[in-house]
Structures are given as structure tokens and as C-alpha cells.
């Protein structure tokens, strides 16, 4: 368990650095929340008064540690703009973003894993070349572009799915799925490309191993050799990339939520930035960063599940 303690300590250090850095960056953003609230015609006295009310006249580091203290007890402050508690604002929007990312990830893995398995059946064959071309094509497409193309195809031309808007699960699972599938596709269809290429290349390396020959010598059919012997030892890089790509996925979600008008955390963040709502931006970015670090921490744990050799090294008492 020694390993777990070290990981937890690292997690704390990383989160501290991330929140501090966010605070610094947010505070050097040009613009001013007081101006944003009171408008350009406000007198300097009014602006200064509002800043004092919001506590913005104190030194930056004081404000940071003040914020950090409350954040540790779960209080991320109140939005300068709406007065709504930031933690509550995030909690309200989190389910939408989580659903979007989980669906996108499922789509990405659902396309990447079968595509990689099929392409290594015959490296350099027709499927391999087609999937490689498709992968590079999608990889070169930005998610907002893909989102707009998907809207054009499925909503405008085929009239199958709603173009924008969000139906919560309370309005029925199908309605919810309909409103989420296009946004999830815009992210997932780009995400799968990297996963597929990484898994393909690891599979090809694994397939040269002697234990694969031995599995074939046991008389196992090719698909069983692939699924039961090659896939798991080939999936470590894939898992790492999935974890690291969460960052890209969050970035993509911010844009995709905007295009499809989904009330998610990304949209909350964007609104906060436009309004110079520093405390909201600080809370949201810190929350996202914590989520990212936590996911990668979980990914690290997953290695131990997948690879008994890692377990052996980590949990040797």
C-alpha cells in the first residue's frame, strides 16, 4: 500500500500547483468583473466599491489562500455575476458533461478496438489501409467542424436528430440519447483515431511474441488468439492515452457543448470567461483539473488490474 500513499501525495501536490496556476492565469486575464457587471459608464468610485464588496481589492495571494481554504471544505465561492454558489453551478451541469464524455469515450473505444483488431489480422491489407486513411482523415478534422457536418447531415438533410438543445433523462431515455448522440459523435469520432493507431501498433508488437505462437500452436483460432492472448498485454499504452486524452476531450467538450447548446460544465466555463466572472472560472477550471488528475490516477490503478507484473512490484510488502 506504500505505492498508494505515494500516489495520493503526488495527487495533492499536483492539485495544489494546478489551482495556484489557474488562479494566477485567471487574475491576469484582461478585463474586469466590476466593469462587466456595472457597464462601461460606471464611475471609478462605483467600480472600486464593487471590487471591495467582492473582495477583489485584497492582494492576490491572500485571495488565493482564502479561496483554497474554502475550496477544501467544498465551498468554491459564489459567482460574482449571479451570486449562485459555484459548487452548485458545477454540480448542476456536471451530469451533462459527464454523459457527453462517457458516451464519446464509449464511441471512441467501440470504434477503435474492433478497428485495431481487424487491421492487424492482415497488416497492410485493405481494411488496414482503409482504417488508417479514415483515422488520419478524422484526426485532421476539428471537433467543431465535425459537429457542424453531423448537424448538417443528420438534422438538416436527413431530419433524424435534433440539431441543438438538451433533453434531460427525465424526459425519457430516448429523447436524452437523441440530444446527446451527435455531440458525443463529434468528440468520439475524432478520439478513436489515436486510440486505434496506438492499439494497432502495440498489437503488432505483441503478435510477434512467442506466447502468441504458443497460443496458435495450441490450436486456438485466430480471433481467440487476438482476443484472449494479444489484446490485454497490448492495451497498456491504450489505457494511458485514454487517460491523457481526457484533457483533449474536456477541451473539445467546451466547444461542442457550445455548438449543440448543451448546458454542461464547458459552457458554464465559457460564460464565466466572457463575463470575467473570476471566481466561477477559477472554480470550474480547478474542478476540471482535479477531475483530469483523478482520472489519470485511476488509469494508473488500472495498470495493476490489467498487468499482474505491476501488481507484483507495487504491492509487494
Amino acid at each position: 500500500m506504500h505505492w498508494l500513499a505515494r500516489q495520493a501525495l503526488r495527487l495533492i501536490v499536483v492539485l495544489f500547483c494546478v489551482t495556484l496556476l489557474t488562479f494566477l492565469i485567471v487574475n491576469i486575464l484582461p478585463g474586469d468583473v466590476a466593469t462587466a457587471i456595472l457597464g462601461g459608464l460606471a464611475t471609478p468610485e462605483d467600480l472600486a466599491g464593487l471590487r471591495a464588496d467582492l473582495g477583489l481589492d485584497r492582494p492576490m495571494l491572500v485571495r488565493y489562500f482564502d479561496w483554497l481554504g474554502s475550496a477544501l471544505s467544498g465551498d468554491l465561492g459564489r459567482s460574482h455575476r449571479s451570486g449562485e454558489p459555484v459548487a452548485q453551478a458545477i454540480a448542476d451541469r456536471l451530469p451533462v458533461s459527464l454523459q457527453l464524455m462517457v458516451m464519446a469515450q464509449v464511441i471512441a473505444l467501440g470504434v477503435a478496438v474492433p478497428a485495431a483488431l481487424l487491421s492487424v489480422r492482415r497488416p497492410g491489407g485493405l481494411f488496414d489501409r482503409l482504417s488508417a486513411s479514415a483515422a488520419f482523415g478524422f484526426l485532421a478534422t476539428p471537433s467543431f467542424m465535425l459537429g457542424i457536418l453531423l448537424i448538417y447531415l443528420f438534422s438538416v438533410t436527413l431530419d433524424l436528430l435534433p440539431a441543438t438543445g438538451f433533453s434531460p433523462m427525465s424526459e425519457g431515455l430516448w429523447a436524452n440519447f437523441e440530444s446527446m448522440i451527435l455531440p458525443a459523435l463529434s468528440l468520439g469520432l475524432i478520439e478513436w483515431t489515436v486510440l486505434m493507431r496506438v492499439l494497432r501498433s502495440d498489437l503488432l508488437t505483441t503478435l510477434k511474441e512467442d506466447f502468441i505462437l504458443l497460443a496458435r500452436a495450441k490450436g486456438l483460432p485466430p480471433w481467440r488468439v487476438l482476443l484472449q492472448h494479444a489484446l490485454r498485454p497490448s492495451s497498456f499504452t491504450l489505457i494511458t492515452v485514454v487517460g491523457l486524452n481526457i484533457g483533449g476531450l474536456i477541451g473539445g467538450a467546451v466547444i461542442v457543448e457550445q455548438i449543440f447548446a448543451l448546458p454542461g460544465v464547458g459552457r458554464l466555463l465559457l460564460g464565466g470567461i466572457f463575463n470575467r466572472d473570476l471566481i466561477l472560472v477559477q472554480g470550474t477550471v480547478s474542478f476540471i483539473a482535479a477531475g483530469f488528475v483523478l482520472v489519470n490516477f485511476l488509469v494508473d490503478m488500472l495498470y495493476a488490474v490489467l498487468d499482474p507484473r505491476v501488481r507484483h512490484v507495487r504491492f509487494r510488502s
Binding site: D210, F211, L213, A217, K218, P308, R309, H312
Partner: protein
């Protein structure tokens, strides 16, 4: 165990060829090798690295070819059945049931993320129709048989938790699990500590005798083949250059290459600090084979004919050798 149905050889190989297309042209890794193996006997295939011995044997059981761009030719019969004419599915069935294989390095030949018991039981479930409980029980029995202490505990461990020798014992358990007729051991001791090598060879030999399996023992070390093989086939540059019983080989090799291999064995009777004899030169480039005998450039007995003409494996009273100036004859270099 059952021998050949017809009374013929268990394994019969005719004119086996394996080529790889390379940028420098066709590389003939195995070039027209033929041999027979009777049930219950052990054939040692001996040669230095790159002589084609592993590729030959792997190509016989279909483990070279797919994806590597190899061109495989020749005829292979197991129990009279033509292996090259089988469908992929029937070939896999036969491979799993009738042929067991042990690879050189047990570090890489066992799946690192699968428990040992399952790796042994896998073939049993597939080829013998055992359910998973029965396969697991049989796996433990097999671990006992190959001499692994605490078999129940070992069965639920992963390969990295075992020593090299233990892992090779597990690999042998996997190979014999389905009671094969033919056991192929591809340099089974090369990656092991010297102290363990003998134990593994003894285990292989015991299993082979008790089960009446035929065995092909691939090795670069004539010393390994010495006490274990009934017959020896010496390979050089993708060809069989000498074939005889082990006794004949050690009593008097006919092919100068075999003699050179024998000379490079250290002997206990040598005085201490005797320099090991090495074969001068290197094996030929298989993609640029010239005319004449492949061994001629390194041979001390070569004559003009050796460089102009390729000797074929000729048979003389049951033993074969490919040489114009064989040892032990008046025309040759003399014994």
C-alpha cells in the same frame, strides 16, 4: 500411445522449402530438406544460428508464414495425412491435439498476464473438450508430473512469479497436456541456467519415453543432442548436410561441418586452458547463394569441385551426407 497407422513414419517431410522475399531478393531459409521420424524416436536437428532449423520446424506446423510473407513449399505428412492440404480449421485441430511445442525462452513463451493453470488448461478445453473445472484439475496434475512443487498454488500464479526453470517446466506441461504424438522442443534449454538445463532435458526425455511420443529436439549444441537423440540431422545454410544415428555421428562424422561442430565441443578430457576450437568464417548470406557447396569457404578439405558444384545429400547405408570429400574415405581427407 498410437504410432503410425500404416506402420510408416509418424512424420514425413519431403523437400521442405521456406523462402522470405527481401529487398535483396529471395532468402532461402530452408532449401529442400527431407526426413522421416518414426513414432517414439527422437530426432536432433543441429546447426548454428541461422542454419534454418527453427524455421524448418515451425514451417512444418504452420507457425511460419501468415503475415511474414514467407513462401513455404514441400510435403509434410503426419500419420500419413498430408498437412499442407488441410483446411485452416482442421489443421488447427490437428496442431492442438497431435503436436506439442516447447520454445526456447520460457520468459517470452508464456503469456505474462494469464494465470499458469489457465494457460495449461486452455488447450485441454479446446482440444479435449474438458470443462473448465476438469481442465483446472488436469492442469494441477500436469504440474505435478513436470515436477513443480505446490502445484495448486502455482496454478493460480502468473509466469513472472516463477523461476526460469519452473517456467520451462510449465511450458512442457502445456506441450504435453493434450497427449500429442509429436513433441517439438526448439532449443528448450538455451535460455536457462546451466544447472537447470540437464533437469529440463531429463524431464523432456522421460515424458517422451513414458508417452511414446516422437520428439524433435532442435539445438545448436551437439552435446545436448548427444545423450537424448536417436538420430541427428545436421543443418547448414538451410540444408541438411548430414543425417545419421547419434552413435554414428559421434563415432565418425562424414561431413566436415559436422566434424567441425564436434571439435568445437569442450571436452572434460582436454587439459585445462585448452583453447576451444572455433569454425573460421561465417555462414553464407542466404539471399546470395553462389554455386558450389555452402560450407566450402570455411572447409579445410575443399577441392575444386566443391566450389563449382553443389553436393546433394547422398545416402550410404542408412546415413546421408552432402559432401564430395567425405571424411573416413580414401578419397576424402581421411579420418
Amino acid at each position: 500411445m498410437s504410432g503410425a497407422v500404416s506402420g510408416g513414419p509418424l512424420l514425413s517431410v519431403r523437400d521442405a522449402r521456406v523462402g522470405f522475399g527481401t529487398v535483396r531478393g529471395l532468402l532461402r531459409a530452408v532449401d529442400g530438406v527431407s526426413f522421416d521420424l518414426q513414432a517414439g524416436r527422437t530426432l536432433g536437428i543441429v546447426g548454428e544460428s541461422g542454419s534454418g532449423k527453427s524455421v524448418l520446424v515451425r514451417s512444418l506446423i504452420g507457425l511460419v508464414g501468415t503475415g511474414s510473407g514467407a513462401i513455404v513449399g514441400g510435403e509434410v505428412r503426419l500419420d500419413g495425412q498430408d498437412l499442407r492440404g488441410l483446411s485452416a480449421a482442421s489443421f488447427r485441430h490437428l496442431l492442438g491435439r497431435d503436436i506439442g511445442i516447447v520454445f526456447q525462452d520460457p520468459m517470452t513463451s508464456l503469456n505474462p498476464v494469464m494465470k499458469i493453470g489457465r494457460q495449461i488448461g486452455e488447450g485441454l478445453r479446446l482440444n479435449r473438450g474438458l470443462d473448465s473445472a476438469a481442465a483446472a484439475r488436469r492442469a494441477v496434475e500436469l504440474l505435478v508430473e513436470v515436477g513443480i512443487p505446490e502445484p495448486e498454488r502455482r496454478a493460480s500464479q502468473y509466469p513472472h512469479e516463477l523461476s526460469g526453470g519452473m517456467r520451462q517446466r510449465v511450458a512442457i506441461a502445456i506441450a504435453i497436456a493434450c497427449e500429442p504424438k509429436l513433441l517439438i522442443a526448439d532449443e528448450p534449454t538455451t535460455a536457462l541456467d546451466v544447472t537447470v538445463q540437464r533437469q529440463i532435458l531429463d524431464l523432456l526425455q522421460r515424458e517422451q519415453r513414458e508417452r511414446g511420443m516422437a520428439m524433435i529436439l532442435i539445438t545448436h549444441d551437439l552435446g545436448v543432442a548427444a545423450g537424448r537423440a536417436d538420430d541427428i540431422m545436421v543443418m547448414y545454410a538451410g540444408r541438411a548436410v548430414e543425417m545419421a544415428t547419434t552413435r554414428e555421428i559421434f563415432r565418425g562424422p562424414r561431413m566436415p561441418y559436422t566434424e567441425a561442430l564436434l571439435r568445437s565441443l569442450p571436452r572434460l578430457t582436454d587439459p585445462t586452458h585448452t583453447r576451444l576450437s572455433a569454425i573460421p568464417g561465417r555462414p553464407p548470406d542466404l539471399a546470395r547463394r553462389g554455386t558450389g557447396c555452402s560450407f566450402a569457404p570455411r572447409c579445410t578439405y575443399r577441392s575444386g569441385r566443391c566450389e563449382a558444384e553443389e553436393p546433394v545429400l547422398s545416402r550410404e547405408g542408412g546415413r546421408g551426407f552432402a559432401c564430395f570429400n567425405p571424411l573416413g574415405t580414401s578419397g576424402g581427407a581421411g579420418a
